[in-house]
Symmetry: C2
Subunit: 330 residues, 2 copies
């Protein structure tokens, strides 16, 4: 990153003007682990928040092989053709281990990546899921400030990442493949309960009958779930699409629109956003408090010393903890 | 609890003298959520720690129906007959919900509860697993100071409670029932890996052949696990016992003794205790830090106010969190 004396003052107007390079730089800034970068990122986000721009935030989850890249490419292109600006981000806690990234290869979305009204940001390698979450949340805010209408957040269908993505989006979409037999794929109940829509992809060619059957299986399973107050009649919903043949995507987008409109009218949309913002604030305070134990050299040394005294039996854990907590409060 | 001007000064010598009523009172003190009680409990534990008394801490896990109560009764009676003092504690995070307690009914261990050299403490209702953990750890320390030779910590075989118990004990024992078919019961791999011994109970009467078969199934499964540095040849081990017929208990106790002696000789015993103590210290510091967000009325009010500002979109989560963290550091 080139030297900027005051990145918040410099980048803010450029981001608000929709300048992509400024957006990319700002995302690099929020991704940085350095303390001075963090302070700059916080100042920038605060400056942009007052603009109050909003995008529709859509979380998209699906295990490898369901055709997520093809779907994002086709779905994104359809939105762009409707005159909308689309940003694509990724939450991929596995990338730290594998070294790879689910969005690392932009060639997976060749057409979309060339669109001036589309912005694709690969998931960086990062060790800790908490860090990934904050980075992504803040990248979403930056994309909103830059005037994007839709922010798609892709995640692989494993572990806690779905919950994280659901906690930062307005809609949570599950992309599935046609099932081989007459059984539902092993979707965890908890993930089904988070989904606003299930899209069964690959409803084309030989797989179409299987996709339609799978879709109606999921529709049946969704009907068995308890009705959520944030859903109008008919939601959560399962539909069949073909990302490859670009079929069913418009209808799915219209469904998303209808759901969002209903939630806006009934106050659920704003309430959810408010709850999410409060949740992220509280999470950051908790993480920040705990991070001090590691980041402050003086505190860290005291933790080490007291920990060793406890390990050697010179003092009881409770007494040592009380001493440490008193020191932290000074 | 009667009024004590300085419980630490009053209770400490009585506990060290092995007075059961003082022990029971001290456990009630560590269980209390009141801030003044907490300070007294910390002072008491610190005073007792310097005595440096140790018991063998044995964790015992098993799902309902495997005969845990009968086992503790028979095993405890055998230890008492050998002249040992035995304390029995419980970690039961479910008791908060169910209102019941796995050790609530002392009639489950009628003989043992009448023994002057045995001490049984039921699990109190407590909402949070973290709180249960601290309470139990501290109760273990109190029992050690009171001169008990063996502290048995019982837990139900569900969720995180096994990990907690394993983190506060020297030996972790899994009690199992004979399996119906030729398949192993659904023991999670993680729990198998924590076990130092698997005892297959009910090796009596009609169930004896099934118990022996189950025992050898587990022995085979244990051999497939990676060898741990803290285990001598032949451990972890699966054996068959009958708590009802009081068979195999002595042999199991001798196995535990051999394992413990080996670990003491090879430094594993002390190292593990030291690691556990350090772990608990660090956990208490973290929990104490986070608890301040709730317990300090001024901090709580500021969290509320900033949280509402964030929810209403007046400030960004990151900026509000930075403000809160700065206030906490003052």
């Amino acid at each position: 990153m080139t030297l900027m004396t005051d990145p918040a003052a410099e980048l803010a107007p450029r981001i608000l003007a929709g300048e992509r390079r400024a957006l990319a730089r700002a995302i690099t800034l929020v991704e940085s682990g350095r303390a001075d970068h963090r302070a700059q990122a916080t100042a920038l986000l605060e400056r942009l928040a007052s603009a109050g721009k909003q995008a529709l935030r859509i979380g998209l989850s699906g295990t490898p092989g369901v055709g997520k890249s093809t779907f994002i490419e086709s779905f994104g292109m359809m939105l762009v053709r409707q005159g909308l600006k689309v940003a694509v981000l990724a939450v991929d806690p596995s990338s730290a281990r594998s070294g790879g990234s689910i969005l690392g290869d932009k060639t997976r979305m060749e057409r979309l990546s060339r669109e001036p009204n589309a912005f694709i940001r690969p998931s960086p390698s990062q060790a800790q899921l908490g860090g990934v979450a904050r980075r992504t949340r803040e990248a979403v805010s930056l994309c909103e400030a830059a005037g994007f209408d839709v922010v798609l957040i892709e995640t692989v269908g494993v572990g806690q990442s779905e919950t994280l993505v659901a906690e930062m989006t307005d809609l949570f979409i599950l992309l599935m493949a046609p099932a081989g037999g007459d059984e539902l794929q092993g979707v965890k109940r908890g993930i089904m309960e988070m989904a606003d829509m299930i899209l069964v992809n690959k409803a084309d060619g030989d797989l179409k009958p299987a996709a339609l059957r799978t879709m109606s299986d999921y529709a049946g399973a969704l009907r068995l779930l308890r009705k959520r107050p944030q859903d109008p009649e008919g939601f959560p919903k399962a539909v069949a699409v073909s990302a490859l043949a670009e079929e069913g995507l418009k209808a799915a987008w219209e469904d998303m629109g209808a759901l969002t409109a209903w939630r806006r009218e009934n106050g659920h949309f704003d309430r959810r956003r408010a709850e999410q913002a409060r949740h992220w604030f509280e999470t950051e305070v908790r993480e920040g408090l705990l991070a001090r134990l590691q980041s402050d050299p003086e505190i860290r040394a005291q933790m080490q010393a007291l920990g060793s005294a406890v390990a050697e039996g010179q003092t009881a854990p409770a007494a040592a903890a009380a001493e440490m907590l008193a020191a932290l409060q000074r």
